[in-house]
């Protein structure tokens, strides 16, 4: 076991982990931040996406110990003062979620997408979301949600 320390949603945290402990396991099991999900075991589905030092990453494909000293944001860290992040609100406004399981990862990816492509067209949104699989929505309303958020909510 080794000790890992990082900042998660603005809070300094640390915990004892094995070398093999994944970041997603650390978040879910050590910190009880169960909003980050695991939907596959081949780094394809994106249900586990979080921000590490500002970039979206798949927390199922990163060791907890690799996040030593990092600044991690999860879905639980987006809302401020009880107000949802504009991307969260856009997903609700546009019915961009159904079962909600892929949603946290989708929202985290979408926020990174808009940060790096401030005025994305539909094709760009669809291409940039290729790492997030949704079985419920057919993506139509997710695309609309990202467009709304990109336009400033």
């Amino acid at each position: 076991m080794a000790t890992v320390s990082m900042t998660v949603n603005g809070q300094a945290v640390s915990g004892e982990v094995e070398g093999r402990t994944l970041l997603v396991q650390f978040l879910r099991e050590n910190l009880n931040l169960t909003g980050t999900h695991v939907g596959c075991d081949t780094s394809q589905c994106g249900a586990c996406v979080v921000h590490v030092d500002g970039d979206s990453m798949k927390s199922c494909t990163m060791l907890a110990l690799e996040a030593e000293g990092a600044d991690v944001t999860t879905i639980e860290g987006l809302a401020k003062g009880g107000e949802m992040h504009p991307m969260q609100k856009a997903f609700q406004d546009n019915h961009g979620l159904q079962c909600g399981f892929c949603t946290p990862g989708m929202v985290m990816s979408a926020i990174d997408l808009v940060a790096k492509n401030p005025n994305p067209d539909e094709a760009t949104i669809r291409e940039q979301l290729e790492g997030n699989i949704c079985r419920c929505t057919g993506y139509h309303n997710i695309v609309k949600a990202v467009q709304q958020a990109a336009k400033g909510g």
Binding site: R20, G46, M57, T61, M62, L63, E68, E130, G131, N132
Partner: protein, 260 residues
């Protein structure tokens, strides 16, 4: 995943030392290939040594080309104004946005997945791989299925890509995994026309027939009538060898058109 001891290396030298000190260690850059392999229990290293803090990241442009550090992420390459467009487009097409934020050039080429994109770019541009031990020409580097010229304990530090007059990459992705079903990189490089193909066989390789045709006439139509024998091409549920043979020509033509 089997358990292992995790280490952070402070330099390539330190990584090599830690590797030498381990029973059966693995070096890890972005981990976008190694971690999935470990999760499937297909490897059981005693130690995993991270290069993230080894100071091997960065992009340096000079008059002859660009040198990219081994742990530079695909996203950094794709977003760099110092990197030629053809190489940026290769990086832009690897994996998905999240994989690109973490996966690295060095990790990709050290793994040498037969469907990886970067090997085609290295071969297509005639790049040089610099390790902690020596310089290796790309033509000598990719030796077989998941095999490279790297020795035990040898760690990639950077890759230098010489300038090319014209270059482009065209990729046909596997619809499921998004790896290259076939990817073709074409270039008018310093030493002549280069064509490199990935995804079609067990290891990325140059295409002499295509190079000859394009050397004589740099245009897509120069490739009309050339057929690629399907005998040694990969075949799976996504695409037969014959289909891949077709894609090699089509992607080569599209790359030439894109290169201008």
């Amino acid at each position: 995943m089997y358990d292992f001891n995790f280490h952070s290396a402070s330099s390539a030298h330190d990584a090599a030392a830690k590797l030498a000190a381990s029973d059966d260690g693995s070096v890890m850059a972005g981990g976008q290939t190694l971690i999935p392999v470990l999760k499937q229990r297909l490897a059981n290293p005693s130690d995993v040594i991270s290069l993230a803090g080894a100071g091997l990241s960065g992009i340096t442009k000079n008059g002859d080309g660009v040198t990219i550090g081994a742990t530079t992420t695909h996203a950094a390459v794709a977003g760099s104004g110092d990197v030629p467009a053809a190489l940026r487009s290769v990086a832009e097409g690897i994996g998905d946005a999240q994989v690109r934020n973490r996966g690295t050039l060095g990790g990709s080429i050290a793994n040498n997945d037969p469907a990886a994109d970067y090997p085609a770019a290295l071969l297509g541009l005639g790049a040089t791989i610099t390790t902690n031990q020596r310089d290796i020409a790309a033509d000598d580097f990719f030796t077989g299925l998941f095999e490279t010229a790297l020795n035990d304990g040898e760690i990639i530090k950077s890759v230098t890509f010489p300038n090319a007059t014209k270059a482009a990459y065209a990729k046909f992705p596997n619809p499921a995994s998004r790896f290259a079903m076939v990817g073709v990189f074409v270039a008018q490089a310093a030493d002549g026309v280069r064509v490199a193909v990935t995804g079609a066989t067990d290891c990325a390789h140059r295409g002499p027939k295509l190079e000859a045709a394009l050397s004589a006439n740099w245009s897509a139509s120069a490739l009309d009538g050339i057929t690629i024998p399907a005998d040694h091409l990969n075949s799976d549920i996504h695409g037969s060898a014959e289909y891949r043979a077709n894609l090699v020509i089509v992607m080569a033509k599209r790359a030439v058109e894109a290169a201008g």
